[in-house]
Structure formats: structure tokens, C-alpha cells
Amino acid sequence: MESSLQSAGLLEQMKIHLSTDAGKEITKKIGLVYQLNIAPKKIGVDEEIFVVDLKEGKVIKGPYDGKPDATFSFTDKDFLSIATGKMNPQIAFIRGAMKIKGSISAAQKFTPDIFPKPSKL
């Protein structure tokens, strides 16, 4: 409960997901490091930084030590929408709901299928 973000829950699941066979498959397929700057309400304000390291198969809180292949900035809600397939990442970008720094080709591999889906009680 150390983070107030909804995304933190999903990233937590991602963390353990990456240790499964399916998760390792994803790591092998992507092989890139993404940094996520997630803001509660407005991009750039009170951001929490997570690193989804698909080289090593890790999710870490805090900025990446080095240069990530791509850095994304979005709000909590928008990130969830993207990760659960509600919003296409490219649409998010066009709308200005997602900002990208880094390589476009790396950014294009940032798709909903790298995230595990939360099951519903």
C-alpha cells in the first residue's frame, strides 16, 4: 500500500508475472527497458517513476540507472487503460495522453500484451 496509484497494483502483478514462464517469454521477446512516469492526475505533476525492465525481467520503483529505451509519461488512469487494452497506446499518444521520450521503435513494442490481466473477484 505504499503507493496511492492504481497502476501500482498492476505493476505489482507484473512483477510476479515476469517470474512465470509466460513472463519470461515476454522478456525474451521484447528485451527493452521502459521507464514509466505515472502521475496521479496530470502528466508531469507528482509523478511516480517505475521501471519495467524487460531485459532483466524486473519491475522496480524509481528511475532507471542508465538510459531506458523509452520513457513514457501518462496519468494513472491512462496507463491502466493502455495496459488493459482499453486504449490503444498510439491513440493515447495522438491524444496527448501519453508522452514518449526515446526510440520510437522501442515505444512501438509497448503494447497491452506485455502486461498481465488482473482477474476479477
Partner: protein, 758 residues
């Protein structure tokens, strides 16, 4: 207005989607009245009635069809394109509102023998005729054998009952119910969904056989053409046009589109292309075309009457320049930044691309141009029309008509205008852009991707604009068509349907109940539960919030809200409701400390519930809440333990099995999760949430093909489960089944079920 237009087939009759109620029994009735009352009014404007035609036609200019005259011109002229590609261009045009006029034009071009296509006139026309006759002879409502709605409802119930007793459904002969295509579609779709609920344990073929038997009795075509979403409103529009034409020819005066009828009348005099000629004369030979071209070169003079056209051309010009720049600079860095500009231009609607465009083939490009043109055109057509009218004014209506008649007698129409028009730079532009893309200015896949996305973006915006009106968070969204409205006791019906497991139907009945009695907490609560089981947490939350408004201390409601918010990863809300559960509990309420109520801390709440569990370890509910709480804090092992304790006390609670399954799945024990889901489904075969969760578990294990089957199964029971659609699409992509995207995007369950049977 809509009702009347449906009868008269006016230009505005394109009622979108299946909502067209023109020929459901009630609609028909009101049409009969509306239709007959409008007859008198319409008769005044008939082209056939000798009074009006030679004299000034009062509504002549202001009629809507006039505003589309220029469109007609383009369409008509496109019949002689020097380049074959323009056919598609034309086709696009025809699907627009201008379709009516386009058809008029087409017809003119056909030999007279072909013009009587009476066979094509569909049931709706017959009804039109019926209504007309009825209206003409008497205004009495028709005598049916019992109200058709009653007949239909009894019949559908017999179908449901057949499912319950397990006897195969037998088709029966029914009186003609006068169902419209829209109604039929609605019945068909709902029967398929219902059948999947009723026969959840039966095979796909059995279900299909049952539904087909039902549909056959209702004289509904069960084939695929009719299933799936109605493709926009235009086919309907065209049908109405056919009807009206039929009416015209069979001597029945058709008054709505005065201009068109006028036109149709004139066409008998000779070559209708003379119209174009006439127009040409009015504006000087090739006037319009050259003017158009002029404008294209003089981009600066925006703000004229044809502003809409202008901005469109400007957009083309801009994107052309952009493409040009892109190609010229080979520095990758520069390209990157330009690329972004390119995308942002797309976002402003200044550039339209679609997936075909990376191909150098210009046909599809022309197409897009057409689209854009059309869009602009619709916007600008009224000003165009205004201008047209203004230019006409000094000459007077008669003159126009006379001239028109005169021109009709002339032969050998000059096609210059056509040539001129087709010589416009449409193709240059298209080719150039195609070239740029082909040269790799953007990189194939990139352009493809982003272009597709832009289309989606547009779609989504449309959708969003629709949904944002009502579907903002916490607002319950009612279904459009609800047959249970007016039911004497929808709550009991809803409870019964819920008990039978017909979740989607139960939703409708319960919606009818809460519409009738907005203060019925039980109605809202059960509606919320039903939505949750149907895998729609947003609606579940909205319904539960209404229930809580009415009955703030209902424990079931509070727990359900806690669970749904947990599912939506909304921790603070979930925590608040779970704490309220404790506060309002007759036994554990004493544990609650009031100062916690506003913003309860997770640790405190968990501690209190643990105390409660110690107070009465035999109370399954406390363990359930504890399980949910541990899900919130992602202490999955403890959560699993709590749910298992609860299950020992309540082994036949299917939702509890699902909770156990979901918790296991979230703690990456997907294989064990599936076992729990199976238990849930054994107890409740049409528990949509469990089916969808099965899909999630398979997907998270990387078994995408498997997951697709379960998603599709869940969706067959509740096509409104948006989450499942999104997950299905992801799984399709992971399983490299991009060929099924279209079926998924158009939500075509027929195709998906055939492709991925369970």
C-alpha cells in the same frame, strides 16, 4: 419528425442502427396515424398534381434535397471517369446522404426496362403501402389477432420454458407480427444470447438449432447477413428511396423529395444529362470546374462561400507539402521529428490516411480523398446550396424549370465538364503521397500502424462523444430498447431470470424495475449483482451506488461495492465500503471506531476484521471480507486462506469459488485458479465472470488460443462485456490471429464462435 420521415422516406429518414422502429407494431400504429395526417399536406406539393408544377413552387428552394444538387452533379459525372479507379470514389459518394440523388441519377442512366425493379421492394414497402392504404381509406388502427407484442412475448416465453424442461423447442405457426428488420435483428441477437444462457451446458449446434427453430417461427432470417451490426444507416436510406421510387411509378404520388420527383418527371423528356448542361450554361461553359480549379490554386482567398471546400483543399495541400518535406530530408533525426509533426497533423484532421495508403496504388488514395471531400462537403453543402439559390433568384423558379425542360430536349451533351473535373489534381496528390510513403519516408509498418490508429482514434472520439454524455463514472447507463418496460412485475421477472441464469435478460427486467421504482433498493442491488456476474464492474458499481443511496446500511450492497472497487483497482473506495460493512454490521459494529470512517487506513481495517473473525470464526462473511482486503494489499496467500475458510463454511457459493480462483490467478497460480473457476461454473454454468476469468488465466499463462475460446464464450453470453472484448483483442494479437481483428472490432460473434468453438 422521425416517424413521419420513416413513412415518407424523406432525406432525414436514416435512423441509425437497429433503432428504427418504423415497423414494430406500435410504431406502425403511430405511423398509420401520422402518415395519414401528413398525406394531405404532402399532396399539395405533388409534382403530379397539375396545380403546382407550372406555377411557383413555394418550397422548391428551401427543400433539403436542393442543397445536395452539386453533389449530384459530381456523382453523375463520375459515370464517365477516364480512369477506372474513380469508381470507388463514386461508390463512397453514393453512400453519403446524397445517395438518394445519386440513385436518381443512376436510374436516369438506365434503360427504362430496368427501372421497374418491383421485386426488390421489401417488406417495409408493403408496410408503407399498407399504411398508405389505411391512411387513405380510414384512420382506424388495424385489427390484429391480439396485440402483436403479446403474441411475441408469449411465444418467446414458450421458448425459454422449453429450455427449462429440456425439451427441444418446436416451431409454431404464428400470425404475421409485422416485425421490422430492426426488431428482427434485435430479437435474433437477444435469442442467441439467451440461448447461450439457457443451454449453457449444451453444445453449440444444439443451441443454434434451437435458436433457428425459434427464428424460423418468427419468420426471421437467421443468416449472417442479418446478424451483426447494421452497417450504418445508408442502406436503409437507399431502401427507402427504392420504396419511394416504387411508389412513384405505381402511380402513388411521392411527395417528399419534390426536387427529385420533379427531376424524375422531367427525365421522361429525354437525356437527363441535359441538366448538367443546363447548369453549365447558367454558369458559363465549364464555369464551375474552372472556378474550382482556380480556387485550388488561389489558396489564399479562404472565407468565400465555398470555405468548406477551400479548407479541404488546403488540408490536401498541407499534407502534400508535408509528405514532400519528409521525403527530401534523409537525416533520421529530422525524420523523427517530422514524423511527429505528421502524426500531430493527422490528429488535427488535416491529413487522412488509412492502411491502404502505404501501397503505391492510387485507387484507395483517391478513395480517401473522396472521404475527406465528402466530410467537408457535408459541412459546406448548405452554403453551397445557399449560393446556388442566390444565383437562381433573379431568374425565378419558372425560368429554371423551363430552362430545365428546354435543355432536356437537347441532345449530345457536352462531357467537357466531366473531363475537367476528373482532371483535377486528385490523383497527382494521391500518387505523390503514395510515392513518398513507398519510398520509405515513414517506414512501412510505421505508417500502417499509425494510420490505422488514426482511424481508430476517430472512431473512438465518436464513441466517446456518445458515451461521455451519460457513462461518466458512477452514472448508470440504461439499455436503449427494453421490452420489460411496462411489464406488470419486472422485479419478480428479473429475480426469476437471474435465478435461471439468464443474466443479460435479467439486467433488462431489473432495469425496467428501477425505472418504475427508482427507490427500490433490492432492484438496484440485484441489478448490481447481475452486472458483476455478467462481468461489468462499472455498471455494477453504478447500480450498487444507487442501491446504497436508498438503503445506506445494506451489508450485501456494501460488500459488493467493496469487491467491485477492488476489481477496478480503486483501493481507497474499496477500503471505505468494506469498513462501512463492518460499521453497519449488527455484531461487529461495536469494533468500529468512528474516526476511521472518512479515510480508513488499511492496517486498521485489516486488524478490525481479524478481530471480528476471532469473535465468530463460523461466519463465512467475515472471511470473505478479509479475503477481499488481502487482495487489496496483495497478500494473496492470506487471501487464499481466508477464501478457503469461507468455502468450508459455504461450499456452494459459486461467487466464492470465483473469488478464490481470481486470487490464485492474481498470485500467478493460474493452473490452480482454473480448477476453482471450474467449480464455480459447475455450480452456475452461465457465470460470465468466471468464463472471462478462465480466459484471463489462460492468457496469463501464455496459452492465447485457449484464452480466446473462453473470452468468446463469455462474450456470447454477454456481448456488452467490454473488458472481455479488449482482452480478446490482445489475445488475438498474441496468437497472431490478426485475421480475426475485424470480427473482433465489429463484435461479430458468429464468426468468432465458428472460428473458436469451446
Amino acid at each position: 419528425m422521425a416517424m413521419r420521415d420513416l413513412v415518407t422516406g424523406g432525406a432525414a429518414c436514416a435512423v441509425p442502427g437497429t433503432a428504427a422502429s418504423s415497423s414494430n407494431p406500435f410504431g406502425a400504429l403511430s405511423n398509420a396515424i401520422l402518415g395519414s395526417s401528413s398525406k394531405t399536406q404532402e399532396l399539395k406539393g405533388l409534382p403530379g398534381s397539375a396545380v403546382n408544377v407550372p406555377g411557383p413552387l413555394p418550397h422548391f428552394r428551401t427543400e433539403a434535397p436542393l442543397s445536395t444538387i452539386p453533389g449530384l452533379e459530381n456523382e453523375g459525372q463520375q459515370h464517365h471517369p477516364p480512369v477506372g479507379q474513380n469508381n470507388e470514389f463514386l461508390a463512397r459518394f453514393r453512400t453519403a446522404d446524397h445517395g438518394v440523388l445519386a440513385d436518381a441519377w443512376n436510374e436516369i442512366h438506365q434503360p427504362p426496362a430496368l427501372q421497374t425493379q418491383g421485386g426488390k421492394i421489401e417488406a417495409q414497402f408493403q408496410e408503407f403501402e399498407q399504411i398508405y392504404n389505411r391512411g387513405a381509406s380510414s384512420m382506424l388502427p388495424p385489427a390484429w389477432d391480439g396485440p402483436p407484442q403479446g403474441v411475441l412475448s408469449r411465444f418467446l416465453h414458450s421458448f425459454v420454458d422449453s429450455g427449462r424442461v429440456g425439451v427441444p423447442f418446436r416451431p409454431a405457426a404464428l400470425p404475421v407480427l409485422g416485425l421490422s428488420e430492426g426488431d428482427k435483428q434485435c430479437i435474433r441477437d437477444r435469442s442467441f444470447i439467451m440461448a447461450h444462457h439457457i443451454f449453457a451446458d449444451k453444445s453449440e449446434e444444439y443451441i443454434n438449432a434451437q435458436v433457428n427453430a425459434l427464428l424460423h417461427s418468427l419468420d426471421i432470417d437467421g443468416n449472417e447477413r442479418l446478424r451483426g451490426p447494421v452497417r450504418g444507416s445508408y442502406p436503409e436510406l437507399e431502401e427507402y428511396w427504392t420504396e419511394s421510387q416504387g411508389a412513384l411509378r405505381s402511380g402513388m404520388p411521392y411527395p417528399a423529395d419534390k426536387w427529385v420527383s420533379e427531376f424524375a418527371r422531367q427525365r421522361e423528356n429525354g437525356d437527363p444529362e441535359a441538366w448538367a448542361h443546363s447548369f453549365e450554361q447558367l454558369h458559363g461553359a465549364n464555369g464551375w470546374a474552372s472556378e474550382f480549379e482556380q480556387e485550388q490554386s488561389q489558396l489564399a482567398s479562404v472565407g468565400q462561400v465555398r470555405g468548406a471546400n477551400m479548407s479541404h483543399i488546403a488540408a490536401m495541400e498541407q499534407s502534400r507539402m508535408l509528405a514532400h518535406t519528409l521525403a527530401q530530408n534523409n537525416d533520421p533525426k529530422f525524420q523523427n521529428s517530422k514524423f511527429l509533426q505528421f502524426v500531430s497533423k493527422m490528429s488535427r484532421g488535416e491529413l487522412i490516411v488509412d492502411e491502404n495508403q502505404i501501397k503505391p496504388a492510387t485507387g484507395s488514395l483517391t478513395d480517401n480523398w473522396a472521404d475527406e471531400y465528402q466530410a467537408q462537403y457535408n459541412a459546406g453543402s448548405s452554403s453551397w446550396a445557399d449560393q446556388f439559390v442566390r444565383q437562381e433568384l433573379p431568374q425565378g423558379t419558372d425560368k429554371w424549370v423551363n430552362e430545365f425542360v428546354k435543355e432536356n430536349q437537347q441532345q449530345g451533351v457536352d462531357d467537357q465538364w466531366v473531363n475537367e473535373f476528373s482532371k483535377l489534381h486528385v490523383q497527382d496528390w494521391a500518387e505523390e503521397f503514395g510515392q513518398q510513403v513507398a519510398e520509405g519516408a515513414l517506414g512501412d509498418s510505421t505508417a500502417d500502424d499509425w494510420a490505422n490508429t488514426y482511424e481508430n482514434f476517430l472512431d473512438e472520439q465518436l464513441l466517446a462523444s456518445k458515451q461521455h454524455s451519460g457513462a461518466s463514472r458512477g452514472v448508470y447507463v440504461f439499455s436503449d430498447m427494453n421490452p420489460y418496460v411496462g411489464h406488470p412485475n419486472p422485479l419478480r421477472e428479473g429475480q426469476e431470470l437471474f435465478r435461471k441464469g439468464l443474466l443479460s435478460e435479467a439486467v433488462l427486467a431489473l432495469e425496467a424495475e428501477v425505472l418504475k421504482n427508482p427507490d427500490n433498493a433490492e432492484g438496484w442491488r440485484l441489478l448490481g449483482i447481475t452486472h458483476a456476474e455478467n462481468d461489468d464492474d462499472q455498471q455494477a458499481i453504478a447500480a450498487m451506488m444507487r442501491a446504497q443511496e436508498v438503503d445506506p446500511t445494506n451489508l450485501e450492497v456494501l460488500l459488493a461495492l467493496g469487491v467491485s472497487h477492488t476489481n477496478e483497482l480503486e483501493q481507497p473506495e474499496a477500503l471505505r465500503y468494506l469498513y462501512k460493512w463492518l460499521q453497519n454490521h449488527p455484531k461487529y459494529g461495536v469494533l468500529a471506531t468512528p474516526e476511521l470512517a472518512d479515510s480508513p487506513y488499511y492496517g486498521d481495517v485489516a486488524r478490525l476484521f481479524n478481530e471480528a473473525a476471532q469473535m465468530s470464526p463460523e461466519d463465512a462473511d467475515v472471511h470473505i471480507v478479509l479475503g477481499v482486503l488481502y487482495n487489496l494489499s496483495r497478500e494473496y496467500d492470506k487471501a487464499i486462506e481466508s477464501f478457503q475458510t469461507a468455502l468450508n463454511l459455504k461450499p456452494r457459493d459459486y461467487s466464492l469459488w470465483n473469488k478464490l480462483g481470481a486470487t490464485r490467478a492474481n498470485s500467478i497460480q493460474s493452473a490452480d485458479a482454473i480448477l476453482a473457476y471450474q467449480q464455480a461454473l459447475d455450480l452456475k454454468p452461465n457465470y460470465v465472470r468466471a468464463w472471462a476469468n478462465m480466459g484471463i488465466s489462460y492468457a496469463n499463462q501464455g496459452l492465447y488460443e485457449e484464452s480466446i475460446r473462453y473470452y468468446v464464450r463469455a462474450l456470447a453470453m454477454n456481448p456488452k462485456a467490454d473488458n472481455a472484448w479488449q482482452y480478446l483483442r490482445i489475445s488475438l494479437s498474441c496468437a497472431s490471429r490478426n485475421d480475426m481483428f475485424e470480427a473482433c472490432d465489429s463484435r461479430n460473434l458468429d464468426i468468432l464462435q465458428k472460428e473458436f468453438p469451446l
